[in-house]
Amino acid sequence: MIDKFVASALEAVADVRDGATVLIGGFGQVGTPNHLIEALCERGLRDLTVVSNNAGTGTHGLARLMAEGRVRKVICSYPRSRGSVVLEELYREGRIELEVVPQGTMAERMRAAGAGIPAFWTPTAAGTQLGEGKEVRAFGGRACVLEHALKGDVALIEAWEADRWGNLTYRMSGRNFNPVMAMAADLTIVQTQHRVELGELDPERVVTPGVFVDRVVHIPYGKPRLW
């Protein structure tokens, strides 16, 4: 019997290694797998590369992971959220590497990794500072830059419902980066608010098929704290 549920967040992240590239779902604090991130903090890892739309707020979750010196590099689109003081400070002091990527390019690079596309052309960022150093080619008269797939060793995902095959649904704007990150990593770990029986999810309503999921932890924490 396939059963992807594990007992705890700590068990779920037990084999994440130093130097790993970790994709972290969520937009702001919605759909963000904070309990998995906290478990990652407990591991005391080094030199992580984190891919996340935002760069943490306050002192918990991703902000804690960075504050404790676990993160060598952040790849994100918008590090300047309300309360993103930890990143700002580390960045000012030159103690963290920051790669800012346009949000759509970031999503598409992960989608490419998940879909077996090693690289693609896009007009986004062509001719701008964020396009500097990239290969340029015109398509239909429009300058495009070459962007490469962005794959994770691990993805940390938050879901609303999950069954033992790892089929997932999301809640409202909690969907955001979670489905694309779930398909873009070698090891996909999910924290879910609700655990449901196999067959309980309407097959038309599954957003992430279990095929993309490796482990699930049931963490019914309630509502996200927006800041």
Partner: protein
Amino acid sequence: MDMLVEAAPLDRHGMARRLAADIPEGWVVNLGIGIPTLVSDHVPPEREVIFQAENGVIGVGPAPPPEEEDPWLINAGKQMVTLRPGGSFVSQSDSFALIRGGHLDLCVLGAFEVAENGDIANWAISSNEKAPAVGGAMDLAAGAKRLWAIMEHTTKDGRPRLVKRCSYPLTALGVVSRVYTNLAVLDVTPEGFAVRDMIPGMTLEALQARTEAKLRPAA
């Protein structure tokens, strides 16, 4: 400069209202953070405009009353919103497929500068100050069918924002088709900025005095 004693510049809501008047029913529209977000408040609910937020919400409705707030439902500015009947949720990759694939009729962005060739600079002031943050601005600017900028006509200390060439880091090249300021509405044409209309009391000469790029009346 004294002409402005008669010409009262629009405030943020006035600018948003002026822009909202030009959005027809049925358009799919993304609103950037800041003044652009105010635009939806000025579209009457009976005129169906589909507002899209890049975090994956299609059919964004007005802010909820406090007792109906739901932290699961936020917009790209991380504010709690509502969903209109007919709305739906998509993933980030599908949301940006929509944005980048030319399915937005309109994107409204704030800007530091817009150049007469349609270049826009709205994401970074200098390279080394704070951690840079681009969000979806470059994708929106490159992908929408139409890009309208909305901003103060000049900086607080009077420097023009409608320029010959942008001095700030670019967001995208040659994409702005119209600019709404607190003083006027201008089209970006192959011949540069063309003034569509101005606030009462404003003259082309007075507007030109506050603008680096050459202005001409709309055809």
